[in-house]
């Protein structure tokens, strides 16, 4: 067990990296996903089609394939960014599709009357979306979005596969030295579970506050 203490420094750094990655990618996914969902229900057919294609692409292609494409292949076309930002960008783009689906499922819970009322009040399309539909959709989609965020937290582990030194790759390195796989990976698993628990509890609390009782 001592080696956990000995290598506390690198492990904590790696944990920090994982958390920062998840946070940045999470915020990015939330913003982008909401925009995609808005495009998905917009009155402009081209925009709807583009948003549909976007979600279809990211929902059907494995994250690992996208990470490898972005990290190892795209530099051949001169598209190079530092490693960690690249993975965060890919993660955000990927999870944004799921956020968009979650928000759109929230849109379905907004009652017909709401939309008719905003029309009757003379709101424009943009106003209806921005002031009436999206706020309610987001509130109804708290729990599904929380699930997407938990998935995102777990998916940061895939960054290890393309060489980012985050938690999973750090414990893997530690294991190569210490050869205590069961102990080490179980400990890392507990950390991931704890993070999922925090997100889940947070989402639950937020939902109780935000939920619209109908």
């Amino acid at each position: 067990m001592d080696f956990f203490v000995d290598s506390a420094g690198p492990l904590l750094t790696a944990l920090g990296t994982t958390i920062v990655m998840a946070l940045v990618a999470g915020v990015g996914a939330l913003v982008l996903g909401t925009l995609v969902a808005a495009a998905r229900i917009s009155p402009v057919p081209v925009l709807r089609g583009a948003a549909w294609a976007y979600t279809q692409f990211f929902v059907n292609v494995p994250l690992l394939a996208l990470l490898i494409l972005a990290v190892f292949a795209l530099p051949d076309a001169g598209l190079i960014m530092p490693l960690a930002p690249t993975t965060v960008l890919v993660l955000a783009l990927y999870e944004a599709a799921y956020v968009a689906e979650a928000v759109r499922s929230g849109v379905n819970t907004v009652g017909n009357g709401q939309i008719e009322a905003s029309r009757a009040l003379g709101l424009t399309l943009g106003q209806t979306l921005r002031l009436v539909v999206l706020p309610q959709s987001l509130r109804a989609a708290v729990q599904p979005i929380g699930n997407v965020m938990i998935a995102l937290t777990m998916n940061t582990a895939l960054a290890a596969a393309v060489g980012v030194v985050e938690l999973t790759s750090a414990v893997n390195k530690l294991n190569l030295v210490q050869a205590q796989p069961i102990l080490i990976f179980t400990a890392a698993g507990l950390v991931y579970m704890a993070r999922a628990l925090v997100i889940g509890l947070g989402a639950g609390r937020l939902e109780r506050k935000a939920a619209i009782v109908r």
Binding site: Q56, L64, I115, N147, I150, A151, L158, A179, G204
Partner: protein
């Protein structure tokens, strides 16, 4: 909700425990908008042009960037018109399908048992199933794979390569399947079970003959969606060097040095394969399900990784 263990404080609650949150009312297609008038039609046309121009600009910028590095040269793409290359990649796809099929069968069966366990009146069984599900769905699959790769040999167990991928994926996906099935069972009207029992069927018979057939039919679209997620997970064969599509692409690219082209083609294959499955799921969801009576606002079974939609 009448679920014995469901509450919104559950760490990774699916849509199951939360009737208000995720219930997608399949309302008669809500039209967000009025029939557009002349002004709106003009605005829509204007926006269409703007969006098309923006997208075209994006694609053009990408093509120029690719072209400037010679990535669009014909000789970098023509190899992918030859049969041997496709044969090589299709062997990978076959590996993907094999692994996915194994995980689907094993994970589905285990998930079914776990769902029944989580809803069981026997407390130890319920707790065990709940604990397993909550652990398995919040630990990254990659970590499970590492544990499998490095941990089991230490215990003197060395499994064939495919199982090093299939076992961790089964662990993770069985939890997801369990939650979907559970959502289906909870979505069924209580009267169904009560009717079964009052006909003199035993509890097990009621579950087997009355509850499960309806619940499973109800969640079929979500099960197919989970299948997509599972096929995506098999790309982790890349880590364990199991011959599936992504790993095959990796090996191919180290021979032909056409990284961009190879991985784009691999991505495309995934897109087509999973896109077909997703379309099937969407079809199933849209199909009017006359034969499965359920509550008015049934909870939508949403796997953690793939929020369910129409």
């Amino acid at each position: 909700m009448t679920a014995p263990t469901s509450s919104s404080s559950r760490p990774a609650g699916t849509g199951t425990g939360t009737g208000t949150a995720a219930s997608v009312r399949r309302a008669p297609t809500v039209s967000l908008y009025d029939e557009p008038g002349p002004r709106t039609r003009r605005a829509i046309r204007l926006w269409s042009v703007v969006v098309v121009l923006a997208l075209a600009g994006l694609v053009a910028a990408g093509l120029v960037q690719f072209g400037s590095r010679g990535q669009l040269d014909a000789d970098r793409w023509t190899p992918f018109l030859s049969w041997p290359i496709w044969q090589y990649l299709l062997v990978g796809l076959w590996g993907t399908i094999q692994a996915a099929a194994l995980v689907a069968v094993l994970g589905g069966a285990l998930g079914l048992l776990l769902a029944l366990g989580r809803l069981s009146p026997r407390r130890p069984l319920r707790w065990l199933s709940t604990a397993y599900i909550e652990v398995a769905r919040t630990v990254p699959v990659l970590l499970l794979i590492y544990l499998m790769l490095f941990g089991l040999p230490q215990l003197g167990l060395d499994l064939p390569l495919i199982w090093k991928l299939v076992v961790p994926l089964t662990v993770a996906n069985s939890a997801a399947f369990a939650e979907i099935v559970r959502a289906g069972i909870l979505g069924l009207s209580r009267g169904q079970r009560e009717a079964g029992l009052s006909l003199g069927l035993s509890s097990a018979q009621t579950t087997r003959l009355v509850v499960l057939p309806q619940a499973l039919r109800f969640v079929t679209p979500s099960l197919v969606t989970q299948l997509v997620s599972l096929v995506k997970d098999t790309s982790l064969g890349y880590i364990v060097a199991f011959t599936e599509l992504l790993y095959r692409g990796q090996v191919l690219s180290s021979f032909n040095h056409l990284l961009i082209q190879t991985f784009l083609v691999v991505t495309l294959v995934y897109l087509v394969f999973n896109g077909a499955l997703s379309t099937l799921a969407a079809r199933l969801r849209a199909r009017p399900s006359r034969r499965s009576p359920r509550r008015a606002a049934a909870p939508v079974p949403a796997p953690a990784s793939a929020p369910a939609l129409d």
